[in-house]
Amino acid sequence: MYSKITTIQNKTGLHARPASDFVKCASKFNSKITIKNVDDDETASAKSIILILALSLSQGMQVEITAEGEDEAAAVDALVELIDSKFGE
């Protein structure tokens, strides 16, 4: 198991296109991946667009990305990098 914490920095948060990009990236990996809202402990599968939308993650929120599986480190690093890149905004 491998995990990292980061902060959502893009304006729209994890909604609309950024959410879709995030799920597409997560789906490339075989590991089981989750994203957690650090404030309220709500967790969702990083591969489900709907559950991620339901978390309503907006700018400034801290999230923890956790993965378990053969490519866990690569998966977490790629997703954290994507969030930190502000989704190209």
Partner: protein, 574 residues
């Protein structure tokens, strides 16, 4: 009978009802035999493939015409392949032996409910996308062909429980007169699409699908939110007239809102915006105007317990200046007095607040407030073209004091090494007769004037414009007012200093015609007046405006002036 709903997209139409019944998903209840599970999983997979093909085809069809709407179908494909839902559906089939249609229905509904609980209304709305994809999958499972509103036999008023996002995106626009639904709010897909297509829409009409029958004639009035069944001949005539007027108005707006305001004899008039907030809607006006002629800043102080900080003001001023690029943004310093209760500014009760310690006078009294606002404005000035103006100037001394305050703030900023634009223009509001009479002196002291016709009328006619008992004495067309404007404008124009009018007279066609004739080349108004004033300028030769203004100055009463203006401008007004 008249039924009421929420008019979310303006317009009006009468026509036959087209009751639209989309596919409704009934699912089978019997559990699967264990041996049937593998085949069920295969069929589920096949249904998904078919649904994907349909969505891709819809996407392709819309992509070139309307890429924004095509995105709906990309989102639907994302939902169709959502891993969490897919996992749950497979589990229901494999472990609980649910037939796939039941598994799809239950799992999709569960996820739609999850989204419905989201605090953000936009995310909530996505639940309807999930239900849309669910309906598609179950329809395919049942082997029923796709049904939508993409081709209607004749123009009709669509009556439906609720439109699914895919229905609205593929709508046969030319044959949809209006949309009436039983549910949905102003942020729903139906509302957004109806507005973008300019189709009148009334949502939330309770039991609409039961009230109206297929083919009956109704009036859908999305100006008032009424749906009228069994309309009388008279009501139908009224509807036709309202529809004609609505379209004429829309045409005028569409033709003129972006048309440069140049008179037939080649004189340009700047059409500027009056801004009283920085909401997204208010800033929409940026697209149609040549600048901000009046940026009221009172909203920053209203409804709060503490004064707005320099930083807070700076951010807002910067945003507006940036939005307008190089176009002028005329910021009016705080214009408030004892007539308003302010939580952040305990103002004492006054007997005559309109003649009291207000606006610039209050700012001299409270230099801390004035200084904070001036600092924020000057700091923001590097982001655009700032014009700064002072309200309630009554004397030349007021101008000196205001300029002194500006001088001090500039010095402070320079000492602190904070940048500001050297080109900020300083101006005054002309709304008190005394300064209009001394405009020749004032014009030498400042860079521009802006005439606030509402207050100028109030102070010239000695009439409280908020007191209905003296309403008849508030006469915007009184020649006395035009004479004062003439005097003030002439003084400034002779000194090569621009004159703007930002009161209601500037957005009024009769008033604007006279103002043009008096040499005013900047009119500032609410967005709702922009199209009609651009039209007026385009149709009224400046030579004629000058003649009209000269004639008005020679009249003796407001009534005469109004009659004269109505007849002189008859052709343009029609």
């Amino acid at each position: 009978m008249i039924y009421h709903g929420n008019p979310v997209s303006k317009g009006i139409a009468a026509g036959p009802v087209f009751l639209y019944q989309p596919f409704t998903a009934a699912v089978s209840g019997d559990l699967l035999e264990e041996s049937a599970v593998p085949e069920a999983l295969n069929k589920y997979e096949a249904a998904r493939k078919n649904a994907e093909a349909e969505l891709k085809a819809l996407h392709a069809r819309l992509q070139s015409a309307d890429p924004e709407k095509a995105k709906i179908f990309t989102a639907h494909i994302d939902i169709l392949f959502d891993e969490a839902m897919d996992g749950d559906i497979r589990e229901q089939i494999e472990n609980n032996r649910y037939p796939p249609d039941r598994a799809i229905a239950e799992v999709f509904e569960k996820y739609a409910r999850i989204l419905r609980k989201a605090p953000d209304p936009l995310i909530k709305e996505r639940a309807s996308d999930i239900r849309d994809v669910k309906t598609r999958l179950i329809r395919i499972w049942n082997g029923v062909p796709e049904k939508n509103l993409s081709s209607l036999p004749a123009p009709a008023v669509i009556v439906v429980h609720d439109l699914l996002p895919s229905d609205t995106a593929t709508l046969d626009r030319k044959n949809v007169l209006a949309i009436v639904t039983e549910i949905g709010g102003s942020t729903s897909h139906s509302a957004i699409i109806a507005r973008s297509y300019g189709i009148p829409a009334i949502l939330g009409v309770d039991k609409a699908t039961e009230h109206f029958s297929q083919g009956e004639t109704v009036i859908a009035d999305a100006l008032t939110g009424q749906v009228i069944s069994e309309p009388t001949k008279e009501q139908l005539r009224g509807c036709a007239e309202k529809r004609r007027r609505f379209f004429a108005q829309q045409d005028q707006i569409n033709t003129f809102i972006n048309k440069e305001a140049v008179s037939p004899d080649g004189v340009r008039v700047d059409i500027e915006l009056n801004l009283a907030s920085v909401s997204e809607q208010a800033l929409e006006g940026e697209k149609y105007t040549d600048g901000v002629g009046l940026f009221r800043t009172e909203f920053l102080y209203l409804g709060r317990d503490s004064l707005p900080t320099e930083e807070e003001q700076f951010e807002i001023y910067r945003a507006v200046l940036t939005k307008f690029g190089g176009r002028p943004v005329t910021l009016r310093t705080l214009d408030i007095g004892g007539d308003k209760k302010l939580g952040c500014l305990n103002l004492p009760h006054e007997e005559n607040p309109f003649l009291g310690n207000r606006a610039l006078r209050l700012c001299f009294d409270r230099p801390d407030i004035f200084r904070t606002q001036l600092r924020a404005a000057f700091r923001a000035s590097v982001y655009g073209n700032l014009w700064l103006m002072f309200p309630m100037v009554a004397s030349i001394d007021d101008i000196f004091r205001a300029k002194q305050a500006v001088f001090e703030v500039k010095k402070e900023l320079t000492d602190e090494n904070i940048a500001f634009s050297p080109d900020v223009k300083l101006g005054i509001m002309i709304e008190i007769p005394s300064i209009a009479l001394l405009a020749d002196f004032a014009a030498k002291e400042v860079d521009f004037a802006s005439i606030g016709t509402n207050d100028l009328c109030q102070y010239t006619m000695a009439v409280d414009r908020l007191n209905p008992a003296v309403n008849e004495y508030y006469q915007s067309y009184n020649p006395a007012l035009f004479r004062l404007i003439h005097l003030a404008a002439k003084s400034f124009l002779e000194n090569g200093k621009p004159v703007c009018v930002c009161g209601e007279l500037g957005g009024d066609r009769l008033g604007a015609a006279v103002l043009m004739g008096l040499g005013v080349r900047k009119l500032s108004m609410n967005i709702s007046s922009v199209a009609q004033i651009r039209k007026l300028v385009n149709e009224l030769p400046m030579k004629k405006a000058e003649q009209i203004a000269a004639n008005v100055l020679a009249l003796s009463s407001a009534k005469e002036a109004e009659q004269y203006l109505n007849s002189a401008l008859k052709e343009i007004l029609s």
